[in-house]
């Protein structure tokens, strides 16, 4: 892998974003609207519930922000790829001396930058509007982020692989895939709410441990290392599977001439 080429590919995304209002909307507009919505829902629930659920604000707003980290990381990867498909630039990239690994690394890095920008904006806004301090989680925030980012990357790679295989018909998956997990991942409610059969699914999803962990840390101040370990292990598995799938699909694309199809259809 040539790091210089990775850097240039990252810079390329930065050039595209600098000029594109739509892309900037992706980074700021949606997350901000989501935060406003969840923020006021929370305030309302708190008022009618008269404190029946302690720390409701932190639970819901914290969950929303952390979910966005995962979602934006996935989007960062998939949309970067789709961008090249939409502007019919994919062939130019892959007939240049660029390795698939370099291309993926660049989408990873740019995805991280995007997440960073979104996260900082959301944290500032949540603090200003709802006195929610994301950093109250303290140290635990770091392992949470690591796990969310890895899962985001894994989902991004898997989505990209599927789009590579099925073409633009599968484009909608770019937005759908993370939400397939959301109901089972205990984002806004604890796993114990789910029926037992679904709890099994929940435990196979790495981010479940993050959201459970977040509530635990905010309520009791304890960080569960065993949960962290589980999440990390599952994540490594999914990321490995995702990368394997992408390499396979790229191979298949070369076999079936899909790169040309994807670019010129």
């Amino acid at each position: 892998m040539n790091l210089r080429r990775v850097g240039i590919l990252v810079l390329r995304y930065a050039f595209v974003y600098r000029r594109s209002v739509i892309r900037l909307v992706e980074v700021w507009f949606w997350p901000t609207m989501e935060l406003l919505l969840w923020g006021y829902v929370t305030l309302f629930l708190q008022r009618v519930g008269e404190g029946a659920v302690p720390r409701l604000v932190t639970f819901l707003i914290g969950a929303m922000i952390l979910w966005d980290v995962l979602y934006r990381a996935q989007q960062g990867i998939t949309l970067s790829f789709l961008e090249d498909v939409w502007v019919r630039n994919l062939l130019n990239i892959f007939c240049a001396p660029v390795r698939l690994s370099e291309y993926i690394a660049a989408t990873f890095l740019f995805g991280l930058v995007r997440v960073g920008v979104t996260l900082i904006s959301l944290a500032a806004l949540a603090w200003g509007l709802y006195h929610f301090d994301l950093f109250e989680m303290g140290f635990a925030l770091i392992p949470f982020m690591v796990n969310l980012l890895i899962l985001g990357l894994a989902l991004g790679v898997i989505t990209t692989a599927i789009i590579l295989r099925f073409g633009q018909a599968a484009e909608a998956l770019a937005w759908a895939v993370p939400f397939l997990l959301q109901p089972f991942a205990a984002v806004f409610y604890p796993v114990s709410v789910l029926p037992p059969s679904l709890q099994v699914i929940a435990r196979a999803i790495p981010c479940t441990y993050v959201f459970e962990g977040m509530r635990e840390v905010l309520r009791t101040g304890t960080f569960r290392w065993d949960h962290f370990g589980w999440a990390l292990g599952l994540n490594a598995l999914y990321l490995g599977l995702g990368l394997w799938l992408l390499v396979r699909m790229f191979d298949l694309a070369r076999e079936r001439g899909l790169l040309g199809r994807l670019t010129m259809q």
């Binding site: 240039i8 390329r12 050039f15 502007v87 130019n92 990239i93 007939c95 001439g257 040309g260 670019t263």
Partner: protein
């Protein structure tokens, strides 16, 4: 038979089957330094597939491709640094300027003195005034020229062009043909060129390969082809071949 010592590209018995469709069928040819070869054939004859195979974008079902004496499967990145490609169907990100796009590709190809090189190719294709225009705003002919700029950035030794003059007006098309000739003379680039414009082929190519249903069925210089078919224009040859698949392997020993 052409001597192959200075062959830049060597294709041997290349075959690509897509789901039972034979897109490229046991194609063999080579291109020497400084030679422009035209790939002609009806829609669906297998021209684009052949170019994509050479670029390593498609994996052959069987056969071998050697570029600069090396196997494309095993030395793809090294080889790609020394060649380039331009196609009508491929674009550049529309919200970047011409200069930004070219600069990024110059970096990807590891072009030294990128700024000067970009100025040079823009000048060459007479679009220096579009330097700061966003590529999304360009007319299709202007875009084609930007694509050609991209294809020339790394001073390639082998250039693959898929219908490079498809959207050019007659004046610019003429200039591009002259330019390709000039580059060929000055830098001795080898080119493989597809076009549906017979004028292009006659003026630019040293040698023509006629593809019909994935097979090379005629090969020779434009003049040899005309003599063999006893016609005055390549267009007539094209139509005859497209309709009947008439076979000529004039310059091949076999």
């Amino acid at each position: 038979m052409r001597r192959c010592e200075d062959a830049v590209l060597r294709v041997h018995e290349l075959t690509k089957v897509f789901d039972g469709i034979v897109a490229v069928d046991r194609v063999s040819f080579s291109i020497s330094r400084g030679e422009i070869v035209g790939l002609l054939g009806a829609n669906g004859a297998g021209k684009t597939t052949t170019l994509h195979l050479i670029l390593g974008l498609i994996r052959p079902t069987s056969g071998r491709i050697e570029i600069f004496g090396r196997d494309i499967e095993r030395h793809r990145i090294e080889i790609l640094r020394r060649m380039n490609f331009s196609s009508v169907g491929v674009n550049l990100p529309p919200n970047l300027t011409v200069w930004e796009n070219l600069w990024l590709f110059a970096q990807l190809y590891g072009v030294s003195r990128a700024q000067e090189r970009i100025a040079e190719v823009l000048e060459l294709l007479e679009i220096a005034h579009l330097r700061d225009a966003r590529t999304g705003r360009l007319s299709s002919g202007e875009m084609t020229r930007v694509n050609l700029c991209k294809a020339l950035l790394n001073d390639p030794e082998l250039l693959l062009l898929d219908e490079p003059t498809a959207s050019l007006d007659p004046n610019i098309a003429d200039k591009v043909r002259r330019l390709l000739r000039q580059i060929q003379r000055e830098r001795r680039i080898a080119m493989l060129y597809t076009s549906h414009n017979m004028r292009d082929i006659e003026e630019v190519c040293d040698r023509i390969l006629f593809l019909h249903q994935g097979r090379i069925i005629a090969e020779g210089s434009p003049r040899e082809i005309l003599e063999h078919f006893r016609t005055r224009t390549l267009e007539e040859v094209f139509i005859r071949i497209a309709r009947s698949g008439e076979i000529l392997v004039s310059q091949r020993e076999r």
